[in-house]
Symmetry: C2
Subunit: 367 residues, 2 copies
Amino acid sequence: MARTTIQDVARAAGVSPSSVSNLLNGRTERMVPATRERIERAIEELGYRPNRAARQLRSGHTQTIGLVVPSVGNPFWGAFAREVEVAAQAKGCNVLLCNSEREPDRERRYVEELWEDGIRGIILCTSLPSLEHVAGSIKDGLRLVTFDRPAQPDDPSSVVSISIDNGIGGRLATSHLIELGHERIAFVSASIRSVNRSARYRGYCEAIEQAGMSVASMPSWTGVTAAEFGDVEAADVGRAAAHALFDGSGPAPTAAVAINDITALGFARGLRDMGLKVGEDVSVIGFDDIILADLYDPPLTTVRQPIADMARLAVGEAIERAAAEDEQAGRSVLLRPEVVVRESTQPPRNEGPKQRANVTAREAIGK
Amino acid sequence: MARTTIQDVARAAGVSPSSVSNLLNGRTERMVPATRERIERAIEELGYRPNRAARQLRSGHTQTIGLVVPSVGNPFWGAFAREVEVAAQAKGCNVLLCNSEREPDRERRYVEELWEDGIRGIILCTSLPSLEHVAGSIKDGLRLVTFDRPAQPDDPSSVVSISIDNGIGGRLATSHLIELGHERIAFVSASIRSVNRSARYRGYCEAIEQAGMSVASMPSWTGVTAAEFGDVEAADVGRAAAHALFDGSGPAPTAAVAINDITALGFARGLRDMGLKVGEDVSVIGFDDIILADLYDPPLTTVRQPIADMARLAVGEAIERAAAEDEQAGRSVLLRPEVVVRESTQPPRNEGPKQRANVTAREAIGK
DNA sequence: GGAATCTGGTGTAACGATGCACCAGATCTT
DNA sequence: AAGATCTGGTGCATCGTTACACCAGATTCC
């Protein structure tokens, strides 16, 4: 069980440990091919694997990236975490998983701990408007990649942000409903305090006004404005919204934009509670395209985030930053989301439908 | 930014680095309280945090556990991964995340790599009948915890297995349907090759025979017996099964036990394709109780796995093994699953229902 | 009263890889 | 021909922690 070390390799190849180290670290400019081959053969034959701990101790950094998500229990974050791991693996890195439960204090603790452990890069999934809770580590030199949160004016300049363009997302979702002929469209969300939720709402407003309608005249509902919420609560919020919007106290909507798929699903359930049919009676569009969206009955129209691309970008930034330092700091990358049309959105009931949306999920995805 | 080391602490407390190390590692038997307090105060004041890399290099083991799941993109594994991280955090450990995609070769590569990196313990989520692909590492001394896979006769004796009792699960699910009055119950699954899938099937058979019925007379379907499958395919399998079972070519079932929730959801969709209503026309019960089960329309009755308890157990084994060595090796822990009754299971249509299942999800869960 | 034992620590050699400073020998300049 | 430069490497101190071996001084034993 004695580990084969760099010394063993050196001995077997008839060179010094330094040369082996040089090869391992790509300092091969001034190494004659014959030597190189001897070393490579020795590594192969002895089945040598570098010791990470020693490497890290000496060099000061890991081959590990930290991933801080609200909770991998949430299907969206689970799917994202998977893509991150795939992308990291492709670059020879491992992923350390952390669940913040959306608590700023946990985010801070995780980030500090990872940073002190010499983690190579950190992908922080947060939608907090301010990054001041992790400002300390950033000031000390940490290069942070935030996800699901576009850059803010007050962000430290070294932070790279990756997100979809939520404004466009909100606009696409709303326009889709408008094109189907809807004129009373509700926006369903709990607190809009987070930066991406408010951006989606802004997109919703823009689309409505661009269509010559007024946001003020839309059916709205202000039941829950609670601060933050988890997955289960997100569904409850949607359900409560449906109950409130269709209690007969005001003009009911014919369609709704939900802040995410879980809320959309809760809303759909609320509709069912009220004896209404999703799609036929009331159209619903969500955000994220989690796996359940396609499995739901009826399959849910939603705004898809290109998570694989985003994960690749985030991992790239997290790993390469250390090397490239400063070069292009403070970048903010906004990707374009796309609407995936399924069956939960249809033309409104007793109004002249401009077109019939009978695209099935699979066709829309282009599989 | 210069790291505060154990030396700094020693200097501040007026002791030797050895003493600080002794305190840090719990060797306090022969340390006078006054000294101890001085050291603790120094640690506090300097904000000292031990360097993991150095620690690991010297001691040979990490504060990290490896988690190998098929894919965190799958809601069940995502939820489990979250519980594992919570449990590990409570014990001062981090979690390194790996997605095997159910490929034996990836499982092997990950396990070998983690083990060579001195990872403290590994939780391998696999349902492969044999562990020979990781036998090498186990022979070298790795203590492995497998999850979702009960112990097998050929397993190396040092392996600890944690799983639900799938036989009981299969029996509970089937009995639930029988008690509702169903007499034609299908079992829906792709390949039964994996150990837990076949155990569930066995439970299904036992329940049926115990009720005085015969498995041979049950509607069955042998469309897909493909080897392994992923999440999307799992849904497709369910959907295809529904199409096949209700194509009029044989006696159709009035209820079905699906191998997991995703397959159940696919089956539900297939029923809808055929113009049938889940719950009212055909009852469906799944396995796992993923979050989507409760959000589905109608909410899905399912067999819940106690993932939080299982995660805690698995983490405990993975961490404590190193210390306890051999003591209780080869354990196999089987937890008891429970049926969560929701709305997808109802008494059969035109038959005398023995009782009406009008328990709602929330009541059944006991929230 | 001298040896044995106990108490509360300390000294120090690793753990394995890294990368700067350095160095022989060969080749090039002028 | 002798210094300068280049080529292809090597020597060695070092990262921060650990844990075994060891050691003074105090106490106990016969």
